[in-house]
Amino acid sequence: MTATATNTGNTSPLVRSAVLGIILLIVTAALPLAGLGPNSIRLMFVTLVWLTASVAWNLLGGFAGQVSFGFAVFYGLGAYTTAIAYNSGLDRFASIILSAGVALVASFLIGLPTFRLKGPYFAIATIGVSEAVRVIMTNLEITGGASGYRIMERGAFNQRLHFYIALALAAVAVAASMLVRYSKLGLALISIREDQDAASDLGVDPFRTKLLAHALGAALTGAAGGVFVGYAAFIYPQGVFGFDISVAILLMPTIGGVGTVWGPVIGAVVYGFVQEELIASFPQFHLLLYGALLILIILFEPGGVLGLFQKLYYFVRARTSIGSHS
C-alpha cells in the first residue's frame, strides 16, 4: 500500500471520483421515483445509513490505519441525541446536526488521551469506551434504561423524506472522504499509517491529524445515528450501542477495501443488502460469519473487493500486453 501522491497540480483523480459520485447520486436519487416499493426503499435507506458510517470509519481507520472498535458509541449517541432533541421540539435537521456535534465532542474525549501515545492505546480504549457507554446507557433512568426510548413523530410519516435525508448525508460523507483523500490532510493521514515517526519528521502533527479525522468520522456517524432514529422511531441501548454495530461499521470498509474512497461504499452496499438476509437465516451466528470474513479478507485479500478487482485488472492487462509485444 503506497500512497500515490498527486501533488503535481493534477487533480484528475478527485475529478474522476467526483464525476462517478455525482452519477451514482443521481441514479440513486431517481430510484424511488422509478416506482420502487416501500420495502426496497427501506432497504436502501438502511444501506445508506450504513454507508455513511462505513465511509466515516474509513477516514481514520482506513486512511490513518487507526482501528476503532467503538464507532457504535457515536452512532448510539447520535441516535439518542436526535431522539431527545426532536421530542423536546427541535426541528428534524437541527436535531441531526446536534447529533453530529455531540458525537464530535465525544470523539475528543476518546482521542485526546489516546492519540498522544504511540502504540495500541487507541484501539484498546475504544473497546473499553463502548463497553462503558453501553453499561451507562443501560442503567440511565432518563432515557428509559434498557427498555429503550421512543421518538414522537410530528405529522405523517413520509418514507421518501427519510430516504432523501439519508441519501444527502451519504453524499456528504462520500464527498468528505474524497476531499480528505485528495488533499494534504489525506496524505498526512496515509503517511501516519505507513510510518508515524517519518511522518512527524516531515512536519505532520500526528496528534492533531488523527484527532481531526476521528472528529470528522464521529460527526458523520453521529448524524447517521440521528437519521436512523428518525425512521426507526424506537431505540434501545443494545440496539444502537450494540457490539455488533461496532463490528458492522469496521467490517464494511474491510470488505470493500480499506483506505480507499470507494471501498467503504462497495462494502456498505454489499453488507447493507445481505445483512438482513444473513441475520434472518443465521440469527445466532451472523457474528461468526463476520469474524470468519474478517480473517479471510486480512489473510488473503487485505485490499477487499476493490483490491481483488485491481488485481484482476492488472492480471488481464498483463496478459493482453504480453500478447501485443510478442
Binding site: P120, Y121, V258, Q284, G291, A292, I295, L299
Partner: protein, 297 residues
Amino acid sequence: MNTVDFLNLLVSALLLAGVYAAMSVGMTVIYGVMKIVNLAHAGFLMLGAYFVFEVNERLHLDPLLGVLLAFPVFYFIGITLHWLMVRRIPRSDQPTLSSLLLLFGLWLVLQNLGYMIWGNSDRAILTPRTFSTMQIGPIIFPTVRLVVFGAAVFSLAALEFVLHKTWFGRAVRVLMQNPDAGRIVGVNVDRTARIAFGVGIAFAGTAGGMLAMMYSFTPDFGGSFMLRAFVIIVLGGLESFSGVAIGAVILALVETFSILVIPSGYQPAVAFSLLVVALVVLPNGVAGLWNKRQRWA
C-alpha cells in the same frame, strides 16, 4: 468499616490479584515479542473455562488437573494458529490494522463457536471445594480462591523461571527490548514469536480455567476479563512482567474496595474508568514511572 472488614477485603483483593496477573501475562508475552494486541484473548479465556468444565464433567478430573492439562492443549492451539494465520500478517513495530482486525475476527469466531457448542446458559464448575471456607484468625475466605491463587502464583513463577533461565526466555526478553539487536546475536525471530504466541494462548487458556473455578460463565465470559487485562497491562506499561503484577494488584484493590461506594449496575465501568485514568496520568504505566524515577536517581 472496622479493621476486620478491611483486612477481609484486603486479603480477597490480593487473592484476586493473583489470577488477574495470570490472565494478563499472556497478553504481555505476545505484545512484547510481536507487538500484536491479542484481541482473541477473551475467546481463549472462555475456551479455557469450557475446557476445564468439560474435563471435569466427562473425565471427572479435578478442575486443578484440568487447568494443568489446559496449558499444553492451548499451547498447541496457539502455535497452530500462529502457523496458520498470525505469521502471515506483515511484521511491524507497532500494532497494525491487519493484526488488530485478524485477531478481532478470531475473537468473534471463537465466541460464537462457544455459543454454537455450549449455548448461552450459565455454567459453573462445582466441587466440594467451591463452597468451603477457610479461616485464619479473624479473616475468612473461600478455599477455592486460595487454591486458584496458588495455581496462578505457581504459573507466574514458572514463567519467570523460563524467562530468566532458558535460551527461549532470553530470546523473548531481547526481542522485547531491542528486536534488531536480537536478530544480530542470532535469535530466530519466527521461532521465538511462534513459541511466545503459544505461551500467550496457553496462559489465556489456563487463566480461563482458573477463573471458571471461581465464577460461573457463558460464552461471553471472556470479554469483561479481557477488558480487565487491558487495564492491567496498560497500568503495567504493556511490556513489563513486573508491571503486570503491579497492575493486577492495583485493579484488584480498586475493584474490591469500590464495591463499598459504587452501585452494582455501574460495577463493569470501574475497570474502564481506571483505564482512562491510567492513560491520562501514567501513559507508560506504573513501570514507566518507576523507570523515570530510576533515571533521575
